[in-house]
């Protein structure tokens, strides 16, 4: 094990539920991870250094990981007796890369809703540019509520090995966030033929028209790499709630926003194209898709 080649990580938590840390703890090859990375400090886990140790050292840190929404107000956010603003000001200078773990650190997420003026993500406040910093080229956003452990680890690996990392307009790795949650959903056929789901708890039907599924508009590869190696929200009959996007959480998450009973078009598809296709598909009744997937009686 080559210790001297490992990249160092310091993990900080802002206003958070700790979900991203726990999601990271599901990573299937932690032994491999520890051969490449050394976590110097994490607030919840038995790591060698305390936050104070890190603040006092002159040594540089390869990755500063931030989990949780941020604020410049000491009253709103302090950690271990220090104002978070001071902690970030010191550590961001020591770090080579700043990784925002999850939607709260990326955009402000749920906890931004407590005080939208004073709580935000690192570089964004919802969709608006400008969060804790207005500009910071070290920042990479791994949005999600929580993030998937592979999104996080694979991004760090790319940076560690010097492989190219392309980022989208929200500074999210394109390899993950170019996909839509819709890609790989088991209910694709029902989406194609506009067959609504009749009730929750069945294998059949699409949740896009009436139940708020944002899969066709949400950037993430959930249905490609699967969660916890085995599943995903849509695979268990739940809608996708758009947790990797800047406007998460929307209001009325379980309802499909419609204007004159017409839903938004999927990401990057014009309304004209979508309504034409949808209108045509809706005109046909595909018998097989009206029946149960597993027909026990035949």
């Amino acid at each position: 094990m080559k210790h001297h080649n490992r990249s160092s990580i310091v993990w900080l938590q802002g206003l958070t539920c700790n979900g991203n840390s726990h999601s990271f703890l599901n990573y299937p090859s932690m032994d491999m991870f520890s051969k490449v990375f050394k976590i110097l400090h994490h607030p919840q886990i038995n790591t060698p250094y305390s936050l104070e140790d890190i603040l006092k050292t002159d040594a540089k840190v390869d990755f500063l990981v931030i989990e949780g929404a941020l604020s410049r107000s000491e009253k709103i956010l302090s950690r271990f007796g220090y104002s978070f603003k001071d902690i970030l000001d010191i550590l961001s200078k020591k770090a080579k890369y700043i990784i925002c773990a999850g939607s709260c650190a990326s955009f402000g997420g749920i906890f931004r809703l407590q005080n939208e003026a004073k709580i935000f993500g690192a570089l964004f406040s919802g969709k608006e540019k400008g969060g804790f910093w207005f500009n910071n080229s070290k920042v990479i956003n791994i949005s999600g509520c929580p993030m998937h452990p592979r999104w996080f680890v694979e991004t760090l690996l790319k940076l560690h090995y010097g492989d190219k990392l392309s980022l989208d307009e929200y500074r999210r790795p394109k390899e993950v966030y170019s996909y839509l949650v819709h890609h790989g959903c088991l209910r694709n056929e029902y989406f194609e033929w506009k067959v609504d789901c009749k009730d929750y708890g069945e294998k059949e039907g699409c949740l896009f028209y009436e139940h708020g599924c944002q899969g066709p508009m949400t950037h993430a590869n959930c249905n490609k790499i699967l969660w916890n190696s085995v599943s995903s929200k849509t695979r268990v009959g739940s809608a996708c709630f758009g947790c990797t996007e800047f406007d998460f959480p929307r209001l009325a998450l379980y309802e499909t926003k419609k204007h004159m009973s017409l839903p938004s078009a999927p990401y990057g598809i014009s309304k004209r194209a979508y309504y034409s296709l949808a209108g045509v598909a809706k005109g046909f009744k595909i018998e097989r898709l009206e029946k149960r997937l597993i027909d026990e009686n035949n």
Binding site: N46, T47, V236, P249
Partner: protein, 446 residues
């Protein structure tokens, strides 16, 4: 009088223990939680189903317990409005299974991240095997947690923050193959626990009636018991010896409380929240509220559950050690075995041909009602209260297990953990007693 401040690390979130010393003993302890997020306020004026998505974000390690408490509260609101809610046994079993899997993960993490490092340190042993990310034992425990969460994700979609509950049941419709897959993962975790923690088969372990039987095993449980007794820490951390658990699962159907060994019925209507010492009152110093039952503090969690269902092993430990950290810690570890066996049982009983979800057929905006929902989270009873007007949340109240155990009372009437810490003679002891409660600071400052 001397005052020291300890910032407790390696727990869920962050807490500060401010200790007041008199004559080298801890005279009083203030438990401070900062970093308020305001979820109860964020929920106001949202359609009630949004709670299913937002309340799990109170906590990254016990999010499933929040979605369960939330759906229970919502369904209770329907029932209070006179609308019948039928939940099939299949849906009930899937919900309970998911909650159990989360609890198992929780206890294993607490054991390996929080307690074992302390025990090894106290015993002067080499800690390299449980060093985070690198120690062999640590990696095994992390894999076990990831595996039990796989077993659950087959039904919940993901962990953390799955969204598998809906009014009237669950959203998933598993095949028999899915159930076999899930069972296979549980059995892997069972094997880990038998080998590393209990030192014998779980079936044998749960038949234990006396703590002496633990001495005949070989695993981390035995080590912890022996170290605590050898170092005379087994009588430390006693509190009121009063327990409460609201149940709502197949092990404990109805709310009960326990005064030492006497078990009585409990009623959710007597639960209150005290704002004493919180920032919501003048001179407050913490964001956490305190939970009370008929104006008294009660302990909740695995020790409470085990005492109430009269588990022989825990009752035996309690005879000699009362509600000390020994009983508290062994109860939490024991519960892992019970939960694994119960989970396997639940899986075997799931009938995939039953309906997963029977939705009541009324439009969401016609719901005007109040509802209370509760369940047993890893650390104890979790209660959600919701007030809905025409489908919109008017108010939402969350009472987490940690606000029962780690509230802030007064010198004359301290809360559970405060009382447990008062009278100790070293900050390390205070740290250990505190950790024995398995604190979740994020749950406390929602």
């Amino acid at each position: 009088m001397k005052i020291t401040k300890e910032i407790i690390q390696k727990i869920e979130g962050e807490a500060t223990l401010e200790l007041e010393w008199e004559n080298n003993k801890i005279d009083y302890a203030k438990i401070k939680f900062l970093n308020f997020r305001g979820i109860e306020k964020i929920l106001e004026n949202r359609p009630f189903l949004d709670a299913l998505l937002i309340t799990p974000r109170v906590c990254g390690i016990c999010n499933t317990s929040h979605i369960i408490a939330s759906i229970n509260a919502i369904e209770n609101a329907y029932v209070n409005m006179g609308i019948k809610i039928d939940i099939t046994k299949k849906a009930k079993r899937i919900r309970e299974f998911a909650l159990n899997a989360e609890k198992i993960q929780n206890h294993i993490k607490w054991l390996y991240f929080s307690i074992l490092p302390e025990i090894l340190k106290i015993n002067g042993e080499d800690e390299s095997s449980i060093r985070a990310f690198e120690g062999k034992e640590w990696i095994k425990s992390q894999k076990a947690c990831a595996t039990i969460l796989k077993a659950m994700s087959i039904f919940t979609g993901q962990w953390p923050h799955g969204s598998f509950c809906m009014v009237g049941g669950v959203t998933c419709d598993p095949t028999q193959g899915d159930i076999y897959e899930s069972m296979r993962y549980i059995e892997e975790v069972e094997e880990f626990c038998e080998k590393e923690i209990f030192g014998l088969s779980l079936d044998e372990f749960i038949s234990f009636e006396t703590s002496i039987q633990i001495k005949s095993t070989n695993g981390n449980l035995k080590k912890i018991l022996e170290v605590l007794v050898d170092k005379n820490l087994n009588h430390m951390g006693k509190s009121y010896d009063r327990f409460i658990s609201f149940g709502n699962n197949s092990s404990l159907k109805n709310p009960k409380k326990c005064e030492a060994t006497r078990v009585l019925n409990a009623d959710i209507n007597y639960v209150g929240e005290s704002l004493l010492n919180s920032f919501f009152e003048p001179n407050g110093y913490t964001y956490s509220k305190s939970a009370i039952y008929k104006n008294r503090y009660y302990e909740t969690g695995p020790i409470a559950r085990m005492m109430i269902i009269k588990n022989p092993l825990i009752r035996d430990l309690h005879k000699r050690n009362k509600d000390s950290i020994l009983t508290r810690i062994i109860a939490r570890i024991s519960e892992i075995a019970h939960l694994i066996l119960k989970s396997k049982n639940l899986l075997k009983k799931i009938d995939i041909y039953q309906k997963s979800c029977i939705s009541p057929n009324i439009p969401y905006d016609s719901l005007t009602s109040v509802g209370v929902g509760y369940c047993e989270a890893a650390r104890g009873s979790l209660i959600h209260k919701v007030e809905i007007k025409q489908g919109i949340i008017k108010s939402y109240d969350i009472i987490t297990p940690t606000v029962w155990n780690l509230g802030n009372g007064s010198r004359e009437n301290p809360a559970v953990a405060q009382k447990a810490i008062m009278g100790l003679t070293s900050p390390n002891d205070a740290d250990l007693v505190f950790k024995a409660f398995d604190v979740c600071a994020v749950c406390t400052t929602q």
